[in-house]
């Protein structure tokens, strides 16, 4: 899958494109966990270009959130569409992940 990476201030922004399913979750995992492993402490995953996520993608989000929490870093999602939001709500992820309305709010939250 295609993934865009950007940096704004101290915040690393990861933008997965199109679909995170069982086929593409591995590429998303390598990209996101790679960014965290290389020392980024404030990571914003921007879902503006994402249309679909399955439980394989939820797994990666939880791994990243745990890793950054352990590293005293910050992790937020933003620009989540209504369908994906429902997956996050149903799976109980909305309670443990920080979800911001848009990129500006995400950057503000992470101190970028």
């Amino acid at each position: 899958m295609d993934i865009e990476l950007e940096t704004v201030g101290t915040v690393r922004i990861v933008v997965p494109i199109d679909r995170i399913d069982s086929k593409t979750a591995k590429a998303f995992e390598e990209s996101l966990m790679g960014e965290i492993a290389s020392g980024n402490k404030a990571v914003l995953v921007d879902f503006i270009k994402l249309t679909y996520i399955s439980s394989a993608g939820l797994r990666v989000l939880l791994m990243a959130a745990k890793r950054l929490k352990a590293a005293s870093g910050g992790f937020s999602l933003c620009s989540v569409n209504a369908n994906i939001r429902e997956v996050l709500d149903v799976s109980g992820f909305s309670k443990i992940l920080d979800i911001q309305a848009d990129r500006a709010a995400g950057l503000a939250k992470l101190g970028g």
Binding site: D21, S22, S55, L62, V87, V90
Partner: protein, 143 residues
């Protein structure tokens, strides 16, 4: 509007995306429910990933049969595979939806999402095949 989609999938995870596109096209032309295809695709993704990654691991040439039918206000999906007997509904543990981030287990949500997004799920072992039947009522306004 009544109709049926019948797809035979190869034993390959790429097929999940192909079915998703066909499902979207089928449901968009047979119902007015704009979120239905998304929910069905999440459910089918979980079901097919289990079958392809685990059930048919040792049978590369095996195929998975998917029949999707809209009849009146009900969507019925029947997924049939020739893998070893396995009831995904019986094996799935209750997911932990409440623990904080440190204690939340990674994974284990797949079958739960299927059950949340479909109204009814049933498993049967029929003629050496696993048969999973998923049904969902379509909102009256959306038929």
């Amino acid at each position: 509007m009544d109709g049926e989609l019948h797809v035979t999938l190869a034993n390959d995870l790429d097929e999940v995306g192909r079915l998703a596109a066909l499902t979207e096209e089928f449901l968009d032309s047979h119902t007015q429910d704009v979120s239905l295809a998304f929910k069905v695709n999440v459910a089918m993704d979980e079901v097919l990933t289990n079958i392809i990654s685990y059930g048919l691991e040792d049978q590369p040439a095996a195929t998975v049969d998917v029949r999707m039918q809209v009849f009146a206000d009900t969507l019925t999906i029947v997924v049939t595979d020739p893998g070893p007997a396995f009831d995904p509904l019986a094996e799935a543990p209750e997911p932990d939806l409440e623990s904080d981030i440190d204690d939340r287990p990674i994974g284990g949500l797949g079958v739960f999402l299927v059950q949340q997004f479909m109204d009814h799920c049933a498993y049967a072992r029929v003629e050496d095949h696993n048969r999973l039947t998923l049904t969902k009522t379509i909102n009256a306004d959306d038929i």
